[in-house]
Amino acid sequence: MLKVTNLTKNYGQTKALDKVTFSVEKGKITAFLGPNGAGKTTTMRILTGFLLPESGKITFDERSLKLKLSEIINEIGYLPENNPMYSNLRVDEFLKWIAQMKGAHHSENLLEIAEKCGIDKVLDKEIDTLSKGYKQRVGLAKALIGEPNYLILDEPTEGLDPNQKQEILKLIKEVSKEKTILFSSHVLSEVTQVAHNVIIINKGKVVAEGNKEALLKEHLKNATIKIATDAPTTKLRQTLQKIKTIEAIAKTTNRRTGFNEYTIGCKDPEETALKIFENIVRNKWKLTELHTESLGLEELFTELTK
């Protein structure tokens, strides 16, 4: 497990990180979210030893990064922001050099990683000549070299097309079982797809941390319920207004079927839906549709970072 406690970092007068505290569990993918300039890259740079913090404690499986930097750094696979690489080298030269530096120069392993990342056909090409998508994959392959225990990936799907994104996300998911993974992304649909846990950072402070579903439940208590019923509008409104958790009712008439459609804004959607159903049944109205549209990570992100 990777644990960060009260991490603080200043850039001159600007506080980039303000007592940032979070943990990343082994075997689970943790997404690191936040608007631009929130402190994601700074945090990742500190975790990989590239930047020095003002204060705070970082431990990788109970080992202090400050005290065991050289040991821990060998166990980290890191994909930095913008994926800088030695562009004058060939892909195989670059990966081999990284492998040698990490003391993991088994060519079979390199080939396996290259295949996994879909770069086995461009191994003899100069990095400079590759497309952005391929470069990103080379960067990811670099991060995977040496079977790292910890993967720190700063926007790993940046610059990839939708198919490549899916492949990379699949790969991250595949390797996540035995690794501690922290990855940042701007694309919330990706996070929804692969992450187990989420850390949201804003203006240098962690504003939410934990299991994705639990966070949504905790922070997004509002939801929308849609119903379609033949109930007379006035009577339905009178009935539904008695339910305390309902905040707003909007009507959309579907003239073709004669059923009226309503969009109901409410708190505690599960309980509210049950009460709406009970009321409609009690009044012997017909009901053709009732479903809850719960809000997602995007809304949670907007809510916490506005």
Binding site: P84, S87, G103
Partner: protein, 248 residues
């Protein structure tokens, strides 16, 4: 240690595939050979002194002066390029210490420069064929040049780590080395108050070389170069730490 060697190997490879390095090496060797040939055929003097330190304008400059231009051209990309391309983040998050990285970059440039200096060996070899020179003085001269080059490199590395721009790195290194060089030159010292003359004279990069190249291996001269290198290593390390603190 193994990783220091790996970085040295990679850096050396970068030098050998860089067209700038070839231009610099060729220009250096051609100019020095030309200077030697001129002195043999025009002045009828077959001597290493005018290769090692003696210079009368408008003659071609000797090696220490040429190196003031050559070494900043070699060191300018060393760190500035890594910082501009962002690869400093790649290399410094690999299992190699900051000091190890500084040492590796220094050694690779030093080896390349030594290789370049060795390319001028046909000159003393020719001297040996033509006559009977004092090889002890020649060896001392080369030793002095190597120490001088190492000092230039450590200055160049220090400047390079403090900028992202190779041109700025080149110009600042050139200015800094030139300043330190002329401190010990008589043309400069005559304008310095007599109470400070000894201090400036001792600081001059070239004056210590002259002493060594005359065959006098004084430990103070060697210690001077080692001190310059150690001090600049320390400054480079501090600059690296500053980058890690400020991210700039």
């Amino acid at each position: 240690m193994k990783n220091i060697l790996l970085v040295i190997k990679k850096e050396l490879k970068d030098y050998y595939i860089s067209p700038i390095a070839y231009v610099v090496i060729s220009a250096f060797v051609v100019l020095i050979t030309l200077k030697f040939i001129t002195s043999v055929f025009v002045d009828n003097v077959a001597d290493m002194r005018n290769i090692f330190y003696e210079w009368e304008f408008p003659d071609l400059p000797p090696m220490p002066i040429l190196l003031i231009l050559v070494i900043p051209a070699l060191t300018m990309r060393s760190w500035a390029e890594e910082r501009r391309e962002g690869t400093l983040e790649v290399i410094s998050t690999l299992p190699i210490s900051n000091i190890g990285l500084i040492v590796a970059k220094f050694i690779s440039c030093f080896l390349f420069t030594t290789f370049m200096l060795l390319l001028t060996l046909p000159i003393p070899i020719t001297l040996n064929i033509l006559g009977n020179p004092d090889n002890g003085v020649i060896i001392a001269g080369y030793l002095g040049l190597i120490l001088l080059s190492a000092s230039y490199i450590s200055i160049g590395q220090f400047v390079s780590i403090n900028t992202r721009n190779q041109i700025i790195s080149f110009i600042l290194s050139f200015v800094l080395i030139t300043m330190l060089y002329i401190f010990g030159e008589i043309q400069f010292l005559q304008y310095v108050p007599s109470s400070l003359r000894f201090l400036f004279g001792s600081l001059g990069l070239g004056s210590h070389l002259r002493s060594i190249a005359k065959g006098v291996l004084d430990s103070r001269d060697i210690l001077y170069y080692i001190s310059i290198i150690a001090l600049l290593f320390y400054f480079t390390y501090r600059s690296f730490q500053r980058i890690k603190r400020t991210g700039e």
